[in-house]
Point group: C2
Chain length 307, copies 2
């Protein structure tokens, strides 16, 4: 095989109580990537969208991830990658992880699947590092594995796939910029032990609720007293969106990644659509532009397209 | 029915990473309690063991829990309770919770099961409060429900039953005294956010691992960088016991409740017995007396005996 196309989905990290470890994949939006083997040991990037991302491999998330693979294999080959990003950079929807995961999964296909999924995650993390300046796998993992994932540890990397019931997600992406580095800076370095206990009880309960398909418990566990109270100040109308969504029967939700996107989980597609309507009503009264997405949880993750 | 006997099991709270929320029930040791309805609105306590616990209802955990029931029902009846405690008070094995839970479950049987399990938990918590001076349900829940439980919240009470695979527990109870209040006092009021994230990732992973029966992940998740490093100083030879147990193939373990008991989980009874042997070898070289218990996880919890 000389050429392969993949779809790399957006993802929601943190999932309210699971800061820096939980995440899930969306069915939409996703990035499209096409990779081709070339006979030169280099990575050639062709952007086919309007995001003006850098094409120098060392400044591009997909480029860094692919270069890591080239360093590992040592062969005198390279990759030409055409990228059409539909996941806006800086949306809080795992845009950089989609670039990194899409690139390494496509490359692995061209290399006759020589690497394991865990090895691919390591390559993708090198790309992701460029964007987040840290070793964060909470978007890489769901994009790569699909469904809900929990990153138990990053050193060594330990990714746990979580069982989950039918769930629908509504996302609103206000077109404002929040730098991940800024969103990290405002977090407290220390938290009260009491709040931490509260948080891990919720994480444990959420995992149990997802595994059992207990929607009531999912709703009760989607609670965060540590990160959300601090970060929501960066997102205009956060409380209004959340309250309107809960009134429209969303199970719960909060900030997607470091924002500005807000996500809400629902038990049915009908409810997820009603939640979208409720979110829109809040933002239509503002001067802020926004996108919305309604999607089932994507259990498959990154997808290789058959030609 | 005028009289009922129950067995109320010991339990392990915290379970390494799940401080103040996780717990599980043991098959042994357990307390024996016999309750009889009497025609006077009072609680009469008859201790049939050597622990010299108070017999005034307001100073006795079972007494407080039973008085709470009498207050609620208002009828002109009372309870005579005979207690044979095999779970040593102060062992860190949920001795007070066993007293409270055994008493309320037996009383409810005499009252034609008029209360739900959640209501019984509330009565038991009133008894438990006498012992721990706090609203802690992490021993009450497993004693009452059996198996592994997670207390998501105490206000309002939210108890989650956790699925789990076949597991065996080895416990060593060194005969030293640790006051729960002392063990609480040495805990930090604040913890680094980084450690808290690490902790909730482990709790989530442990719940997933128990639900899936993934023994490798159970072992990796039994890790605590917050409470164990501080509290283990109260337990002589803690590290030696832990290391010897892991060497004997225990999955992992740590301090039971606030100690001094140490528990270890194993995949098979043979391993649990080998772990007991390893624990004994550590303590036989000391002047500290100790008991050991090997037990399967008790999936049933408190048990009403048929006459």
């Amino acid at each position: 095989m000389k050429e392969v196309s993949v779809l790399a989905p957006a993802s929601v990290a943190n999932v309210v109580c699971g800061f820096d470890c939980l995440g899930f994949a969306l069915a939409a939006p996703f990035d499209e990537m096409n990779l081709r083997l070339i006979n030169e040991k280099t990575v050639r990037i062709i952007n086919q969208d309007d995001h003006n991302l850098p094409t120098e491999p060392e400044k591009n998330v997909a480029g860094v991830a692919l270069s890591a693979i080239l360093d590992e294999i040592g062969d005198e080959i390279g990759f030409e990658v055409k990228i059409t990003k539909h996941i806006k950079p800086g949306s809080g929807l795992g845009s950089s992880s989609a670039s990194a995961v899409g690139a390494v999964v496509a490359a692995n296909k061209l290399l006759s699947e020589r690497f394991s999924r865990m090895e691919l995650a390591e390559f993708a993390l090198k790309g992701e590092f460029l964007a987040s300046q840290g070793r964060h796998a909470d978007n890489v993992a769901p994009c790569l594995y699909g469904g809900f994932t929990l990153v138990r540890s990053v050193f060594p990397l330990d990714i746990v796939e979580i069982e989950f019931p039918k769930l629908f997600v509504t996302v609103i992406h206000p077109q404002i910029e929040i730098k991940t580095s800024e969103a990290r800076k405002i977090l407290p370095a220390q938290v009260p032990l009491k709040s931490a206990i509260h948080a891990w009880a919720n994480v444990g309960a959420l995992i149990a609720a997802l595994s059992k398909g207990d929607y009531g418990l999912i709703a009760r566990s989607l609670e965060d007293l540590i990160v959300e109270p601090v970060r929501k100040s960066l997102i205009p109308h956060f409380d209004e969106v959340k309250n309107a969504s809960l009134k429209a029967n969303a199970l719960g939700g909060g900030i997607s990644g470091s924002g500005p996107s807000i996500f809400m989980l629902s038990e049915t597609l009908e409810t997820a659509d009603a939640v979208k309507q409720a979110m829109c009503e809040v933002y239509e009264n503002t001067k802020i532009e926004f996108n919305t997405y309604v999607s089932e949880i994507n259990s498959e993750g990154v997808k290789i397209l058959d030609k």
